[in-house]
């Protein structure tokens, strides 16, 4: 457990790195609606601050 937490902490990176891809934040319904309308797939980055 303790080791796991340490490893998780080691993955920490500040959340707001400037991105060049237009990510929608935390809104699957919005992404799904857009994807259906444009007929293109959704690319998901599931992340955690730690």
């Amino acid at each position: 457990m303790r080791k796991l937490l340490l490893l998780l902490l080691l993955a920490a990176i500040p959340a707001f790195a400037k991105e060049v891809l237009p990510f929608i934040d935390n809104d699957y319904a919005k992404a799904l609606a857009q994807a259906k309308k444009r007929n293109i797939p959704i690319f998901v980055d599931a992340w955690a601050l730690w």
Partner: protein, 377 residues
């Protein structure tokens, strides 16, 4: 990955290819998404077909720019229904099975993909990484390490090769001392990890390169070689300082802080990490991670009042599943200070909070481990 890869301007040409969705797994708003698409590690990258709301492709772990572009190509092909090879079909099946948490079946599908792989198959590296990760997830540590040794020569010199070697070594180190194969597997995989750690051409992002050094340090720890551990830590600290000095943005520089904080703490030099962590807290004042690491650094220096003050700031900023982790580490802080009552109360708070999390973020194994820890207090 978010500091270096997703900021790479060469990716802009892919912007119209997908709808891009970032999912913070600690945000309660994503609970339903996480029930539908379980995430077992971060980052998890997925391509979802919006017509069927199914996962066409899934990849766990950070990716370099070339790896990411390969995932874009593969994901788009899969959703378009491009004619698939036997190997492609098997790897896709492995993705779907892994998404359904059917690890044993996913392992079989990965092996089918590898057996059927055409020459120069672009997805071989990902198939190998997925197989090793799945074997480790299923706790088949000998199988994981053995297959990593067998597959490594076919992926050496690439980011996938580093992933195969690193995960394989972590499996070998979990084998019992009396297990006959342990020494040979560990030696072979340590050599492979060392090769990848020192290979500047394998496309690894620095965080993953640092993780390779931590694995090598873990191997020396298992061998009870204090001098070897110290030597590797000093090598890693020098590498991280060099890379951090060349960072172009605060986010890039900060991405090294946590590795540096860890390595300085382990070298008994926690004070060296205080200025960088304070700088990062100033740069990212709503982020809970810098004060959390400050609390750990101060704790290592036995400065418990400063450690608790930093932990207070982290607690004020953290939400979701990560709050459990912050409370758990705060409990450790009280233990180090000799305050058993507060340590136990804080752990009870961590358990209660974790139990209150919604489906998709509820982590029963974590809750069980915290309860065991509380019982031992």
């Amino acid at each position: 990955m978010r500091a270096f890869v997703l900021t790479d301007s060469s990716l802009a040409r892919h912007a119209g290819q997908f709808v891009w969705l970032a999912v913070d797994i600690d945000d309660a708003a994503n609970s339903a998404f996480l029930v539908k698409f379980p995430v077992t590690g971060t980052p998890t990258l997925m391509v979802i077909d919006p017509r069927t709301e199914t996962v066409a492709l899934r990849y766990v772990g950070s990716a370099s720019v070339p790896q990411l572009e390969q995932l874009f190509r593969d994901g788009a092909d899969l959703v378009r229904g491009k004619q698939l090879s036997v190997a492609d079909e098997a790897l896709n099946r492995a993705d779907r099975l892994q998404n359904a948490n059917q690890t044993a079946e996913a392992i079989k599908a990965c092996e089918e993909a590898i057996s059927a792989a055409p020459k120069n198959w672009t997805r071989f590296g990902r198939a190998a990484e997925t197989l090793i990760a799945s074997l480790r997830h299923s706790r088949n540590y000998e199988g994981c390490a053995s297959r990593a040794v067998e597959l490594y020569p076919r992926v050496a010199g690439t980011a996938s090769g580093a992933g195969v070697a690193d995960r394989g070594l972590s499996c070998a180190l979990r084998l019992a001392d009396e297990q006959k194969s342990r020494a040979d597997l560990t030696a072979a995989l340590t050599k492979a990890v060392r090769e990848e750690a020192e290979n500047p051409k394998n496309g690894l992002i620095d965080g993953d390169r640092a993780a390779l050094y931590l694995s090598l340090i873990g191997e020396r720890r298992r061998a009870r070689d204090e001098a070897g551990m110290r030597s590797l830590r000093e090598e890693l600290a020098a590498l991280l300082e060099q890379r951090a000095a060349a960072a172009q943005t605060p986010a890039q520089r900060a991405s090294y802080d946590f590795y540096r904080a860890r390595v300085y703490r382990d070298l008994g030099q926690a004070e060296k990490s205080i200025p960088m962590l304070e700088q990062t807290e100033r740069d990212f004042p709503t982020d809970y991670v810098p004060p959390l690491w400050l609390s750990r650094a101060y704790s290592a220096m036995h400065k418990y009042d400063e450690a608790l003050a930093a932990s207070d700031r982290a607690l004020a900023r953290v939400s979701g599943g990560a709050r459990t982790m912050v409370l758990d580490l705060r409990s450790d802080l009280y233990t180090a200070r000799g305050d058993k009552a507060m340590a136990a109360q804080t752990l009870r708070d961590a358990i209660a909070f974790s139990e209150s999390l919604p489906p998709g973020q509820h982590d029963q194994p974590l809750i069980d481990s915290l309860k065991k820890k509380l019982e031992k207090m």
